[in-house]
Every structure is written in structure tokens, then in C-alpha cells.
């Protein structure tokens, strides 16, 4: 029986391997250079947060969450962190928290300018869109292999994989937020002779802020899911707890790791969502 797929095979896997090998062979210094700032930010955050006495951290968390959201969410955050601490996973929690903070910071720094550019240039947006689609639907595990080859294993490569994985929503929603600014408001700003920087800073960004914050929220959630998976390539934190529980078939270990992740997710989600709502009311002049 003649099978058409036997007659010819596209060696796509070989190609991808060839490309990555070539990148590793020729651009290793470049990738090491990317590693450096991530390493610095992560190490600083982690050291700082771990150095703070636990009780002080909890009080500080309450105050920050109160300020950013409201006192109820402040209270909830403190209780959630304290619970994880009493379970015995304080250090893992702080490591995961630091990884999320670092990766989200880089996502914001890279993603918002890209989103702004995409909103202003139709051509760039057309190119960017399929790339974002691909990044968002690609299974998380697929990122791990090239990241290991280019950056080796450990927590820093884990954060880099996380940045790539969770970058898409902030770009998308920054772009969307800017495009949703009513056309006549933009026309009004232009009719008074605004420069494009004035238009952006005085009109578009303030009005897009709540949508951008929704993007930050999604990015945080994605990065939290990825820092857990990144445990597979040697990143530390709560993910390690889950995987060691899985490897040794210890349901209790895996379970408490899972609880820690869920509580951290809830804390981050509540805080950023309330921030998004607040900025939404403010940009509509209701706050």
C-alpha cells in the first residue's frame, strides 16, 4: 500500500535542532549577557525578601496590599502568607514570589513599549500578532529545552523561560488599551497640537491604564504557572516541592506545595485586579 507520507518527510525537528545548535555555538556570549540583568534582579529581590524577618514581612505585606488594593485584601494576603509559613514552606514561597516579581518586572519593561509600538504601527502589529499567538498557545514545556541549551539550568533560566512565556498578554492588552481610547479624544488632543509624546503620556496611557493593568494581572498569573513548571529545569521554590512529591509519590508533599501556589496566586490576583478596577474608575473620572 502506497502511503504519501512515506514518500517524503520534512525534517522539521532537525532544522529546529540545527538552529538552536547554531545559536548556542555562535551566540552563547549574547545569551549570557541576557542572563546577567535577570540574575541581578532576581538575586537582589530574593536576598532582600529573605533577609526581612518573617513578622516584619507579614506586616509590610499587609500595608502594601492595603495601599494598592484595600484593607480586606491586605488582611487576606497576610493570612495566606502566614498559613504557607506555618505549613513550613516559607522559604520556597519567598523564592517563588521573587521569581514572579522579577519576571513580571521584565515583562512590563519589555511588554509595554512593545504594546505601545504595536498600537501605533499597523505593520508592526501585523507581524507581532502571529508571534504572540504562537507564544501563547505553545505548550509551556516546549520552552524549557531551548532555554536549557542556551542558558543552562537553574533558577535564572527558569525566570527567563517565564518571561518569554508570560510576555504576550501585557503586549496584547497594552496595544488593545491604547487602541480603545476614543478616536475623538485622540483627535481633540491632536487638534490642540499635541506632540506624539504628549498624546501618549497625557491622553492615551491614562485612559488605557485599566486595560494595561488587566494585562499585568494576566501576565502575573501566567508567570506563576510557569515558575512552577520551571522547577523541571532546576528552578527553586514551590514548584520543587510539587515535583519532589510527584517523583516520590508523596501526595502530602505535592499537596502542600499546591496549596502554597494557590494561595500565592490568589493574593497576587486579588491585589492586581483591584488595582485594575481602581485605575479604571480613575480614568473614567469616577474615582
Amino acid at each position: 500500500m502506497f502511503d504519501i507520507f512515506d514518500s517524503f518527510e520534512i525534517p522539521a525537528g532537525d532544522w529546529i535542532e540545527g538552529i538552536v545548535d547554531w545559536l548556542v555555538g555562535n551566540y552563547r556570549p549574547f545569551f549570557q549577557a541576557i542572563r546577567w540583568p535577570v540574575d541581578q534582579v532576581l538575586a537582589t529581590t530574593q536576598d532582600l525578601l529573605l533577609a526581612v524577618p518573617e513578622l516584619l514581612f507579614l506586616i509590610g505585606l499587609f500595608l502594601v496590599a492595603w495601599r494598592l488594593a484595600n484593607w480586606r485584601i491586605g488582611l487576606f494576603s497576610t493570612l495566606a502568607f502566614a498559613l504557607v509559613g506555618f505549613i513550613g514552606l516559607w522559604e520556597e514561597l519567598i523564592i517563588t514570589f521573587s521569581m514572579v516579581i522579577s519576571s513580571v518586572l521584565f515583562c512590563v519593561v519589555v511588554g509595554i513599549p512593545l504594546g505601545i509600538f504595536a498600537a501605533r504601527s499597523e505593520g508592526f502589529f501585523r507581524i507581532l500578532r502571529p508571534v504572540l499567538d504562537a507564544f501563547q498557545t505553545m505548550p509551556a514545556f516546549v520552552y524549557l529545552v531551548p532555554v536549557v541549551m542556551l542558558f543552562s539550568i537553574g533558577t535564572v533560566p527558569g525566570v527567563i523561560a517565564t518571561i518569554i512565556f508570560s510576555l504576550a498578554p501585557i503586549i496584547r492588552l497594552t496595544n488593545l488599551g491604547l487602541r480603545q481610547v476614543p478616536e475623538d479624544v485622540v483627535e481633540a488632543a491632536n487638534s490642540f497640537g499635541s506632540s506624539s509624546m504628549q498624546l501618549l503620556v497625557k491622553v492615551q496611557l491614562p485612559l488605557a491604564l485599566s486595560t494595561i493593568m488587566a494585562g499585568v494581572n494576566q501576565t502575573i498569573m501566567l508567570s506563576l504557572s510557569m515558575v512552577v513548571i520551571a522547577a523541571l529545569i532546576g528552578a527553586g521554590g514551590l514548584g520543587v516541592v510539587v515535583f519532589s512529591g510527584l517523583n516520590r509519590l508523596q501526595v502530602g508533599t505535592a499537596g502542600i506545595g499546591g496549596i502554597g501556589i494557590v494561595l500565592l496566586a490568589m493574593v497576587l490576583d486579588r491585589i492586581t485586579q483591584t488595582m485594575a478596577e481602581k485605575s479604571g474608575r480613575k480614568s473614567q473620572g469616577l474615582g
Binding site: P182, D184, V185, E187, A188, A189, N190, S191, F192, G193, S194, S195, Q198, K202, V203, P206, L207, K282, S283, Q284, G285, L286
Partner: protein, 412 residues
């Protein structure tokens, strides 16, 4: 010299602009052009001259290109072809930076849906134009205070736009435009989103502001009554073309084509037409030195019962009716001088028709129509007024005849 001048301005949206313009030149309408090329013609070949201090209204239905035309003036829409001049400046030739500078000092724009910045206070909105100009804060606030007072919003500076009613929001929009002291106010359906009472109030306010400011105002509207009320002159647009430019009176009484005639069909004519536009030829007239017999003979020949009396310069002296003329003739008077009624009902040529009707019906028919120097220009007869009010002028070049011809209401 004109203040704003548009020379053969066209605006095509989409690709194939050249083909679209060529088809328009060949006389195709914009629907056909769109079907053939996919391009949308916003404005085609518009040439307009607007004088300094004039309130110029551009009127048309939605999709007629009036808002696009307005946006071509400050290049919010880039004209596809043609020239826009403001004073000596060729706006179409400015580069990006120059255009930005020019917009900052020349234009203030007011939008249909207000287009305020919701995240800023009223003050924050009004100072926006000054802020982008780089005016120091102190000076900005002083100016804001002043214009808010001007539009009747003194003391509202700290409110958010969302806390204000539509009418008040548009006052903020107007204040924002006035704050930069522009030469030219561009008003895009500025009052269309307001409810009728507020709308009228804003129109009156704009008129009284304009009396003081003497800006050049370009006002877009789809509302004929608004156009007639505000406009010194009106341009009527249809499907991207300017079909007629004229004074309100010309637009109503001498519509250039069927479209304009249809547009003006519902208008309250008594507000627009003046005594001058519906008066009849005053002849025959008579002079005070003429004899009563001559007068009676003239009346008999023309089948009328009275005559206006003028002097050598054509100035109105009085009215002679048939009874007094007969009396004078019976007495054997040499001239009609002592039989003349020296105070006939008189209206000025520029008196609106409604006012003329009131004056005429309080006095006696026919009423004399005189100009500023007192010369007799025409007569108002009851029948002519009624037919002017009820009829539809035909878009022919003989509006006077059609005024009496009620069969011309065909497009109504």
C-alpha cells in the same frame, strides 16, 4: 481677503485614491466609485473662501463629507489633493513639526461628543491646549478661570466631566477651545448631541460670544434651522461635493438644485426670508406734483386701489388711495399733494418676514418696502406673503415666479 481658503480640496479614504478622483471627475457618484475602486470619497473638489470674523456653516446629511471637510482644514485628515490656506499660510505644505505648532495657535476645535479627557478635572481639560503649548501653570489657571467664567462655568473647575450634564460638558469643550485664543473655531456638530432646549441656549450663547469675539467660526451641522440661525453664510454638501454656498436667505429662496430645495423644504420660511426677498415691483408709482386724474387713470389701468408716491430721488413720500384721489379730483385739485397719506405702513428691506407680517397686518395693506435711505424698493402684498410661506421655491433661476406657484412643491 479671505481668512480660510480651500482650493479644490479632496479627501479619499483607502487605496486607489487617484482612480477614485478620476472617476469622480468623470461625474460618477461616490457609491459607484466605492463599488469600482473600494475607496471612499470623503470630500471631492471643495473650494470655499471664508472671511475673517465670519460664521461659516457647512451643512449636509451624515456621510456628506462635512466633518471630513472640517478635518481637512487642520489636517486631522490629510487632504488627498488640493490646498488649504489660513491667512498667508499654506497649511497643506507644513511639515509635522510646523503643523503641530500651527495647530497650537490657530485652531480651537469643539466635538460632537465633547471628547473631553475623563481622567482630568474641568480645569485640567480646559488648560490642555495651553499645557501642550508649554504655558506656565500660573498663567494657564488664570486663563482657565477667565474662559470658564465666559462660558458660564465659573466655580466648576474642580469637577470631573462625568459629573456634568451634556450641556455643561459641551461648555467645557467650548472653553477648552477658547482657552488657546484661536483665530479659528472649528465646531463639529458641536450642539447636535444636546437636547433641543439646551441646544437653543448654546446657539444663543455662541451668537452672543461671537458678537464680542469676532472669531472665524466654521460650524458643521446637519440641522438646517441651526445653520440658518448661526450662519453668515452656508455651504451645503452632498455626497462629498459642495453643492451651494450662500447666505441663509439665498439657500432658502434660491436653492441651486433639487437636493438643496429638498433640504430646505421643511424650514420655517418666515424666519429666513426678508421683506426684500418677497416684495413685488412697486410700479406704477406717482409723484406728488401729478394730478388726481392721472392717478385714478393709473389705478384703473393696473386694476389696483392705491399708489405709492415718491419724490424725484425715488424716496417714499406717502400713499394715495382711490377714495382720496377721487375726492381731490371732485374738488378740482391741481395736484394730489394734500390727498396723500404721509404715513403708510413701511418696512425695511432687511426685516425678517415674520416681523414684516406683523407690521403689515397691524397697519394697512399694501406695505411699502424701503431701504436705509428711504427709497421705495417694493411693495408687500398679502397674497405674495402667503404664497412665499406656503410654497416651495423651484431650483430654477426664477424663484420669484415659483413663489406664487404652489405646484412646485413636488420634492417636498
Amino acid at each position: 481677503m479671505s481668512h480660510v481658503q480651500l482650493k479644490e480640496v479632496s479627501k479619499v479614504f483607502g487605496a486607489n485614491a487617484d482612480t477614485a478622483l478620476r472617476l469622480m471627475r468623470e461625474g460618477k457618484d461616490k457609491t459607484e466609485v466605492q463599488a469600482q475602486t473600494g475607496a471612499t470619497v470623503g470630500v471631492y473638489n471643495a473650494s470655499i473662501e471664508i472671511a475673517r470674523g465670519e460664521t461659516f456653516v457647512v451643512m449636509g446629511l451624515s456621510g456628506s463629507g462635512k466633518s471630513t471637510l472640517l478635518r481637512c482644514i487642520n489636517r486631522i485628515h490629510e487632504p488627498t489633493s488640493g490646498v488649504v490656506k489660513v491667512g498667508d499660510v499654506d497649511v497643506t505644505k507644513l511639515d509635522r513639526k510646523e503643523l503641530q505648532e500651527f495647530r497650537r495657535r490657530a485652531f480651537g476645535m469643539v466635538f460632537q461628543r465633547f471628547a473631553l479627557l475623563p481622567h482630568r478635572t474641568v480645569t485640567g481639560n480646559v488648560e490642555y491646549g495651553l499645557e501642550v503649548k508649554g504655558v506656565p501653570r500660573e498663567e494657564r489657571l488664570r486663563k482657565v478661570e477667565e474662559v470658564l467664567e465666559l462660558v458660564g462655568l465659573g466655580g466648576w473647575g474642580d469637577h470631573r466631566p462625568s459629573q456634568l450634564s451634556g450641556g455643561m460638558q459641551q461648555r467645557v469643550g467650548l472653553a477648552r477651545a477658547l482657552a488657546v485664543d484661536p483665530d479659528i473655531l472649528l465646531m463639529d456638530e458641536a450642539f447636535s448631541a444636546l437636547d433641543p432646549l439646551i441646544k437653543r441656549e448654546m446657539q444663543d450663547e455662541l451668537l452672543s460670544l461671537q458678537e464680542r469675539m469676532q472669531k472665524t467660526i466654521i460650524f458643521i451641522t446637519h440641522d438646517l434651522d441651526e445653520a440658518l440661525k448661526l450662519g453668515d453664510r452656508i455651504a451645503v454638501m452632498k455626497d462629498g461635493r459642495v453643492v451651494q454656498v450662500g447666505t441663509p436667505e439665498e439657500i432658502v429662496s434660491e436653492p441651486e438644485d433639487e437636493y438643496v430645495a429638498a433640504f430646505t423644504a421643511g424650514v420655517d420660511r418666515s424666519k429666513v426670508l426678508t421683506a426684500g426677498s418677497i416684495m413685488k415691483d412697486p410700479s406704477p408709482v406717482i409723484r406728488s406734483k401729478d394730478g388726481p386724474k392721472t392717478a385714478l387713470q393709473l389705478m384703473r389701468r393696473h386694476g389696483i386701489s392705491s399708489l405709492f408716491v415718491v419724490d424725484n430721488q425715488g424716496k417714499l413720500v406717502g400713499l394715495l388711495d382711490a377714495d382720496s384721489a377721487t375726492g381731490a379730483a371732485d374738488r378740482g385739485a391741481k395736484s394730489i399733494a394734500e390727498a396723500i397719506d404721509p404715513n403708510p405702513t413701511t418696512v425695511d428691506v432687511d426685516t425678517p418676514l415674520r416681523e414684516s407680517m406683523r407690521i403689515a397686518s397691524e397697519g394697512n395693506w399694501p406695505a411699502a418696502v424701503t431701504d436705509a435711505s428711504g427709497r421705495l424698493r417694493g411693495v408687500l402684498v398679502k397674497g405674495a406673503i402667503l404664497s412665499a410661506l406656503t410654497s416651495q421655491p423651484e431650483y430654477s433661476d426664477a424663484p420669484d415666479e415659483s413663489a406664487a406657484d404652489t405646484s412646485a412643491t413636488a420634492h417636498g
